[in-house]
């Protein structure tokens, strides 16, 4: 019997019970859709992580003060890095691109006759552009001099500049952050949203200005919570870190038992996030695999019912010349057609579902193209695996007994 004839006979068999066939494929549909969506969701999570890493800048080391300063009186001189330590780090550590620190606040912004509410104000240092690989489009960035004197200067993000001043050049004009009137000294290039950070919708000012005007000194004073150090390359990371370790303990006057700071590299963040995603993905893969197996059991169940129901038909076909192999192939084909149809519909549902999630859901999804042939193949395998037993049972029937079956 030819492939097409077998397929045709199998199709006729399935069309005998349309609703039942559809319900049987539902298990596979859900399984395949699950595989595709799960992979799309975890790929989306990975893409988010990659973006966040880019947002941090390349080969970044973060130095965090590990001592919580609760306020005056609780170790006022205790180990914490301040703005004045940054030049020391920059000048004494070899193999780095830059050092910067950030202190953020959020203020209403007035300028060019327009008011924008709740704009992120990033207090930072001259090293910021080196650390983040970010360029100034017009004018200049915050300088060390600005920080030394806590100058009232501001560098606008691209979108902020557009919204406040449109096409006119904002450099030299003034902008009011909260109650502080600053002179605009520069506008950044367009960078867009990276990770969760909208670079273009921020204003950059000297970190000392933020400490002086916006942050209540009781909650941190001039102490830096995080210092970003950007190494020249991945290879020098370890060396830079050991240099930092020594230098910072000198600055802070601490020792290895309680250094007063911790260092984190983006690698360790990547590793941590990656292992979380991997756990997540493994879990999802298992869920998807289990639902495929459940779908397969559904197929096997219905095929066994079908073989019993159609015992007489099997007997007749055998009497008319069907070999055991022909009977086996017919039922195997039915199971495979069921699972492949389920696979096809499942792919459509999975791709559509991933898209819907991305567009209207809170989760980012990235369709993994290999998941389509993968899940389709898995569906075919499920059909063959779970169809084999019922098909073999059908082929084993004795034509005399089968013909007499009521």
């Amino acid at each position: 019997m030819s492939f097409w004839k077998t397929l045709k006979v199998a199709w006729e068999g399935l069309m005998m019970n349309k609703v039942r066939s559809f319900l049987t494929t539902l298990g596979v549909i859900i399984g395949v859709a699950a595989v595709i969506m799960m992979l799309a969701i975890s790929a989306g999570a990975e893409a988010d992580i990659a973006d966040q890493i880019n947002a941090l800048g390349a080969n970044l080391i973060m130095v965090m003060s590990s001592m919580q300063r609760m306020g005056p009186g609780m170790g006022g001189s205790s180990a914490s890095l301040t703005y004045s330590d940054l030049p020391v780090i920059r000048d004494n550590i070899k193999g780095i691109n830059g050092v910067s620190a950030e202190q953020n606040t959020s203020q209403d912004v007035k300028g060019g006759g327009t008011t924008l509410s709740d704009i992120a104000i990033v207090g930072t240092t001259s090293g910021f552009v080196d650390v983040h690989g970010y360029e100034v489009a017009q004018g200049r960035f915050v300088t060390d001099q600005d920080n030394d004197r806590a100058n009232k200067v501001a560098v606008l993000g691209y979108d902020v500049a557009q919204e406040l001043f449109g096409d006119t050049n904002p450099v030299g004009q003034s902008v009011t952050l909260g109650t502080v009137k600053c002179t605009i000294v520069g506008v950044m290039e367009e960078k867009g949203v990276v990770g969760t950070t909208d670079y273009d919708n921020r204003i950059y000012v000297p970190i000392t200005l933020v400490f002086k005007k916006f942050v209540n000194s009781r909650f941190g004073g001039t102490n830096l919570r995080v210092v970003y150090v950007s190494a020249e390359s991945k290879e020098v990371m370890d060396d830079v870190m050991s240099q930092l370790n020594t230098l910072l303990m000198q600055i802070l006057d601490t020792d290895a038992s309680a250094p007063g700071f911790t260092m984190t590299t983006q690698d360790s963040i990547i590793d941590m996030r990656a292992s979380t995603t991997e756990t997540f993905r493994n879990l999802l893969s298992w869920v998807a695999a289990v639902s495929l197996v459940v779908g397969g059991i559904g197929i096997m169940n219905i095929m066994l019912v079908s073989v019993t129901e159609r015992t007489r038909e099997i007997g007749l076909r055998q009497a008319l010349g069907a070999r055991p192999r022909d009977v086996q192939l017919q039922f195997l084909m039915e199971a495979v057609v069921l699972s492949l149809l389920g696979g096809l519909v499942g792919i459509i549902a999975g791709v559509g579902g991933s898209w819907l999630f991305n567009e209207f859901g809170s989760m980012r999804t990235v369709l993994v193209t290999t998941s389509i042939p993968l899940s389709f193949g898995a569906a075919a395998a499920v059909g063959i695996f779970f169809g084999y037993y019922p098909a073999t049972q059908a082929a084993k029937l004795d034509p005399i007994v089968a013909l007499r079956h009521e």
Partner: protein, 245 residues
């Protein structure tokens, strides 16, 4: 004359079960059927006529003895080879028609062609063949009716057309009129009679004497043995009536 012998069985036995519970359904059957003969097999229930029919139809293999069908010893063939023999050489007619309810008449008739891979004919030729077969049994007008839209007699005629489709060496009919009213039964017998006149070899199992009267020769079985052969139905009425009691 050997060329004209279509079926030849020697010492055919069939034993079901083993040891003390063994039942001998056939105890050494010797018989031959010539080409073009119309033979009826009769006998009370339990006489072994169904078993004989199953073996003749290559649905079952004998425990012992030989069975030569159309010059080929089929008594020791494998399951796959038996399937081929059934497909090419035997046309079955069953008491309960055994049509597939989801297929229309012409598709039912074409069913055996599905398993006849090497005939090299196209789908169109198959349809032509099936149409011709249905016309032969007088159902040219109802080719696209499904079994539930046909009367019992019509369904059995579809089954006859199906039996003829592979141009078999022999037609085996198992109680072909068992489920039919007298009138339809008469129609069916007319068709079988016509086929016989045109040269077909027919072996038919029946328990009705008036149906057996259509055959030229009756083989009468009792307890797995032939007790009468080569007689016309009218002359075995005493056997039949005796067994009925």
């Amino acid at each position: 004359m050997m060329n004209d012998t279509l079926i030849e069985v020697h010492g055919l036995t069939k034993v079901y079960g083993k040891g003390t519970i063994a039942v001998e359904a056939l105890r050494g059957i010797d018989a031959a059927v010539q080409k073009g003969e119309f033979v009826a097999i009769m006998g009370p229930s339990g006489s072994g006529k169904s078993t004989l029919m199953n073996i003749l139809g290559c649905l079952d293999r004998p425990t012992d003895g030989s069975y030569i069908l159309d010059g080929e010893d089929v008594s020791r063939l494998s399951k796959n080879e038996l399937a081929r023999v059934r497909n090419r050489k035997i046309g079955f007619i069953f008491q309960s028609y055994n049509l597939l309810p989801r297929l229309d008449a012409i598709k039912n008739v074409m069913l055996p062609l599905l398993y006849n891979g090497e005939n090299g004919k196209s789908e169109a030729e198959h349809r032509q063949q099936a149409t011709a077969a249905l016309e032969l049994v007088g159902l040219g007008e109802r080719m696209h009716h499904k079994p539930n839209e046909l009367s019992g007699g019509q369904q059995q005629r579809v089954a006859i057309a199906r039996a003829l489709i592979n141009d078999p060496a022999i037609i085996l009919a198992d109680e072909p009129t068992g489920n039919l009213d007298t009138r339809s039964a008469e129609d069916i017998m007319q068709i079988l009679h016509q086929l016989h006149t045109n040269g077909a070899t027919i072996v038919m199992v029946t328990h009705e004497l008036d149906i057996a009267e259509h055959a030229e020769r009756v083989i009468y079985l009792r307890d797995g043995e032939i007790i009468s052969d080569k007689e016309h139905a009218s002359r075995i009425a005493h056997l039949h009536n005796g067994d009925k009691r």
